[in-house]
């Protein structure tokens, strides 16, 4: 049982790191925002494995839901911000 949990933890951690890389250095801004939401969602599952159901619920509702919506509201109002140079070098 605990090897299953350890294997799940390893998979979740690797997926979180890959999603974080995509969010920080991806080319397109909507994909970066969705990748940040994915990091929040995977962190919420990891909180459940760490025996914290309260924190998991809060992170899923607030971190993965409301923050992504806030980003997309503002992104929708700032349509031409993408044309600027978004990555240095």
């Amino acid at each position: 049982m605990s090897t299953l949990l350890t294997a799940m933890t390893v998979v979740l951690c690797l997926a979180m790191l890959v999603a974080a890389f995509v969010a920080v250095s991806g080319k397109s801004l909507p994909i970066a925002i969705l990748a940040a939401g994915l990091v929040s969602l995977l962190a919420s599952v990891l909180f459940l494995i760490l025996a914290s159901p309260d924190v998991a619920m809060t992170e899923a509702a607030i971190g993965s839901g409301l923050t992504t919506f806030l980003f997309f509201f503002v992104l929708g109002r700032v349509r031409s911000g993408e044309k600027e140079d978004s990555h240095h070098g």
């Binding site: 951690c13 974080a20 503002v74 700032v78 140079d85």
Partner: protein, 119 residues
């Protein structure tokens, strides 16, 4: 073992978030990187309170009140992280409002263009 992995992932997420803040020039990308660093901090704090072999701190039919101290993990980091998550979404909303206002003034989201505070 699980808490080691979770804590290491939390620290790595903090580092990735800082890297994103330091090297990006688009303001919205910097705010996304702050969000990732926030998730990393919360993960690292919750991983401190985990004890292997024990369960979540909720009294129900399986865990009576008598043996609570020997079957529960530390409930204090969870209370702290709950507060931290809610406040981080408030701060993110405020950062986004300021980004919107900056774009309204200058029509640009490139932080190198805002040079009024430079010497």
């Amino acid at each position: 073992m699980i808490s080691y992995l979770a804590m290491a992932t939390g620290f790595l997420l903090i580092l990735i978030g800082f890297y994103g803040v330091l090297t990006n020039r688009n303001i919205l990308r910097m705010i996304v990187a702050f969000t990732i660093a926030d998730s990393g901090v919360n993960l690292a704090i919750v991983a401190i309170g985990y004890m292997p072999g024990r369960t979540a701190p909720i009294l129900d039919a399986t865990v009576k009140a008598g043996d609570a101290a020997s079957r529960f993990i530390d409930p204090l980091p969870q209370a702290l992280v709950l507060t931290a998550i809610v406040i981080s979404v408030g701060v993110t909303a405020l950062m986004l409002a300021y980004a919107y206002k900056l774009y309204e003034k200058r029509r640009s989201l490139d932080i190198a263009k805002f040079t009024e505070l430079k010497w």
